[in-house]
Amino acid sequence: MPNHLGYLSLALYVASFICYARNLSVPNIWVGRGASVLLAGGILVQYLSLYQRSLALHTVPYDDLYGSMSLFAWLLGITYLGLELFHRQRSVGAFVTLLLVCWITLLGLLTPRSLPVPSVPRGAIFAFHVTLNTWAYAAFALSFVLSVIYLVQDRVLRSRRLSVAFWRFPALDVLESMARSSVYVGLVALIFGVAMGLIWEHRLRGSYSFGDPKVIVTLAILAVYAAYLLLSRNANWRGARAALLCAMNFLIVLFSYTFVNLYLTKFHRFL
C-alpha cells in the first residue's frame, strides 16, 4: 500500500540522484549540498511513511517483504549519508541514490493492494533484532557498491585509458576506507541484531534454533565479512582482491535476504 509520503520520498530520492549525478559531471558545492539535503529529506519522508504504515498495522512496519525492503532502503540512505558526512565524499552519491531509486521503484511493483493482516505484537527486542539485521544488510549493500567502484577505478588505472568520469571519482584509498567503514557498521549491527534475536527467541521458546538456515547463513555472513576486514590488511589481499571479496560477500547477503527468507527458513519467513 504505497502512500503519498512514499511517493514523495521517491521523488526526493530522484531529485537527489539528479543533483549527485550533476555534481559528479560538473562539480558544484551548492549542487552537492543540495543533493545531500534532498537525500536527508527523502530519508525523513520515508521514515514518516514507515511510521504511517506502522500505525495502520499496529505493529512494526516490516513484517512482510514490502515492509522489509522499504526499511532496507531507508537504512541504506541513512548509512550512506553518515558515511558521506564522515568521509566528506559525495562522488559515490549518484550510485547509491540510483540504487535507492531502483529499489523503491521495484518496491512499488511488489506493493500489496491491501495491508497485511497485523501480526501479534512481538515487542521491542524483536523490533530491534529485525531493524539491526536489516541495517547490517543495508551497510553491506553500500560496501558492495563502493567495492565495485573500487574495482572499476583500479581497472581503469591499470589500463591507463582514463575516461572523463575517472577524475571525479574518489581515490582508491578513500573508496577502500569507506567500504571498510561500511562493513564495520554492518558487522556491529549484525552482531547486535543476532544477539537481540537470540534473546527474543530464548524468551519466547526457552531455547535457541541454531539449525535454522537463516541463522546458519547469517553466521556465515558474519564470518565472511570478518574475514574481509582481516584480509584487507593482508599483504596478498589488500587492494583489488579485498574489494572483490567484499563484493562477492554481498552475494551471500542477497541469498540470505531473498532465497533463504522466502523458501528455506520457517522461523524467519515473511508473512
Binding site: 560538473v26 562539480p27 558544484n28 558545492i29 577505478q153 588505472l157 591499470r158 591507463r160 582514463l162 572523463v164 575517472f166 577524475w167 571519482f169 574518489p170 581515490a171 582508491l172 584509498d173 578513500v174 590488511r233 593482508n234 599483504a235 596478498n236 589481499w237 589488500r238 587492494g239 583489488a240 582482491r241
Partner: protein, 439 residues
C-alpha cells in the same frame, strides 16, 4: 545626480572602459619581461594615469604572460587608447616603435569580455590555468586598497573574479592536469587521495622529475628521498627540494618505503626490475606503489606491468593523458564562454540602468530650466495673474514634466532588450543635446 566616474560632479553618466595590453600572443618573452610591472610600479602607473587625466579609474594587471592597463577614461579624453599606449611605453622607457603593433586595444563590452576571458583562463598560454585568477585578485585588491579603482572597475573586476570562480567550478576547463609532471602527481592522488603524509622516492635527477617533486611538495608530501648514481647530485637535489639523499647502493633497502616512486635515470637497461619491485611491495605489506617512469629508455622493466598493487605510468602514458585532457579542456570552452556572456549581460544591464537614471535626471533638469524660463517670460506679459494662480501654473507644469518623463524612464530602465535600451539612451543624448549641454 553624481556620476559613476566622479561622485562630485553632476552630469550625464557615460560608462566607458578602455584596455590596452600585450600578452604571450602579441609579444615574445624578451619583450614581455621589459614591460612587466612590479606591484609598486602598477600602483604608481595607476596614480600617474589619473593625475594626467587620461583615466579616472585604473588597474594594471601584470603577470609573466601579460601586461595590461584597464581604465575608465576621463570625460572627453581624446583617443584614450593612444594616450594609454604612450604612457605605457614611456613608463618602461621603450621606444614606441618597438611596441607598435604589439598592443591590443579593447573598449566597452569588448574590454569587459577580454577581462572575463582572462579571469576564466581562456586567454592563458595554458588553457584554464588557475594561477591567473589569484594574480587578478591580487592586482585588483592592491588597486582597490590604493584607491585607484572606482565604481566601474570595482564592478568589472568583481564580476571577473566571479566569472573565474564559476568557470572553474561549473566547467572542466581547469579540471584536468595539462603537464606531464602534474598528470603524474594527480594520478598518484587517484590512488592515495591526499598525498599529505605519504612518502616519495626520486630516482635520478631529471628536470621533469624535479617538477613532479615540486607538485608533490605543494601537496604536502611527507618523507622525500633522492637516489642518484652521483651522490653529490642527489645531495644537491635533496637540498633543493627539502629531502634526504640516499646512496645508490642503498636503493633496494629504501625501495620498500615510498608510496610514490619517480624515476628518470639515464640507463641502457631497466633499473627497477620486476623482482626488485616485487620485494619492495612485499616489504611494505602489499600496500600499493605508484611509479612514474620518466626515463627513456624506460627505467622500469616491462615485465613489472601487471604486478599486484603496482600502478605504473611511463612518459608516453602521461603524454597521452595530457593530450586527452587538452582536448577535454578545449571542448569545455563554449560552456565557459556562455558563463562569460551571462556576466557581460549583467554588467551591461547595470550600465544601462545607471546611464538611464542619469539621463532622465538630466532631462528633468533641462525641462525644469525651460519651464522656469517660459513661465517667467510669459507671466511678464500677464499682469492679471494672482500669486496663487502663479503657484498653480508652476505646480501644473511641474506635474506635466513628471508625467512626460514617466514613460521614457520606465522604458529605459525596464524595457525589453538591453541593446534597444542602450540605443535609446544614445538617441536621447543626441536628440536632446545632452552631451553638448554638458560640454
Amino acid at each position: 545626480m553624481p556620476t559613476a566616474t566622479n561622485p562630485n560632479r553632476v552630469g550625464v553618466i557615460r560608462i566607458q572602459v578602455a584596455l590596452i595590453g600585450c600578452n604571450h600572443r602579441t609579444a615574445p618573452v624578451e619583450l614581455r619581461e621589459r614591460i612587466a610591472f612590479t606591484s609598486q610600479q602598477a600602483l604608481q602607473a595607476a596614480d600617474e594615469l589619473k593625475e594626467r587625466g587620461i583615466l579616472e579609474e585604473a588597474v594594471v594587471v601584470s603577470t609573466c604572460n601579460r601586461s595590461e592597463l584597464y581604465g575608465v577614461p576621463g570625460d572627453f579624453a581624446p583617443s584614450t587608447a593612444e594616450a594609454m599606449e604612450e604612457y605605457f611605453t614611456s613608463f618602461h622607457k621603450i621606444p614606441y616603435d618597438q611596441l607598435k603593433g604589439r598592443f591590443y586595444r579593447w573598449a566597452g563590452p569588448d574590454a569587459v569580455r577580454h577581462l572575463f576571458r582572462v579571469a576564466a583562463g581562456l586567454d592563458s598560454m595554458l588553457l584554464g590555468e588557475a594561477e591567473i585568477l589569484g594574480q587578478l585578485r591580487t592586482a585588483y585588491n592592491q588597486a582597490l586598497d590604493h584607491g585607484a579603482t572606482g565604481p566601474v572597475l570595482n564592478r568589472i573586476f568583481q564580476g571577473a573574479l566571479e566569472v573565474g570562480k564559476r568557470v572553474r567550478s561549473e566547467t572542466e576547463v581547469g579540471a584536468r592536469p595539462m603537464s606531464v609532471a602534474l598528470a603524474g602527481v594527480k594520478l598518484a592522488e587517484r590512488v592515495f587521495g591526499n598525498l599529505k603524509g605519504h612518502s616519495a622516492l626520486i630516482l635520478g635527477a631529471g628536470a621533469v622529475a624535479e617538477q613532479v617533486v615540486e607538485h608533490m611538495r605543494n601537496r604536502g608530501i611527507g618523507n622525500l628521498r633522492v637516489v642518484n648514481r652521483s651522490f653529490d647530485r642527489a645531495a644537491e637535489l635533496a637540498q633543493r627540494v627539502g629531502g634526504e639523499a640516499v646512496a645508490w647502493e642503498s636503493l633496494e633497502a629504501v625501495l620498500g618505503v615510498p608510496d610514490v616512486i619517480v624515476t628518470s635515470v639515464s640507463a641502457t637497461g631497466p633499473v627497477l626490475t620486476r623482482e626488485l619491485l616485487e620485494r619492495a611491495i612485499a616489504a611494505r605489506s602489499g600496500k600499493p606503489v605508484f611509479v612514474v617512469d620518466l626515463g627513456v629508455p624506460r627505467n622500469v622493466a616491462e615485465s613489472a606491468v601487471g604486478l599486484y598493487n603496482l600502478y605504473l605510468y611511463n612518459i608516453d602514458d602521461l603524454g597521452e593523458i595530457v593530450a586527452q585532457n587538452k582536448k577535454a579542456r578545449e571542448s569545455e570552452v563554449p560552456r565557459a564562454e556562455a558563463i562569460i556572456a551571462e556576466h557581460i549581460d549583467k554588467f551591461e544591464s547595470w550600465r544601462g540602468a545607471l546611464e538611464a537614471g542619469s539621463i532622465v535626471n538630466d532631462l528633468r533638469e533641462q525641462f525644469h530650466q525651460h519651464r522656469e524660463m517660459v513661465i517667467r517670460e510669459k507671466l511678464k506679459e500677464m499682469d492679471d495673474v494672482t500669486p496663487q494662480e502663479r503657484d498653480r501654473i508652476a505646480r501644473i507644469t511641474e506635474e506635466l514634466i513628471e508625467r512626460l518623463l514617466e514613460e521614457p524612464q520606465q522604458k529605459l530602465q525596464h524595457g525589453r532588450g538591453m541593446r534597444g535600451r542602450l540605443a535609446g539612451l544614445e538617441a536621447i543624448r543626441h536628440l536632446f543635446g545632452l552631451e553638448d549641454r554638458k560640454k
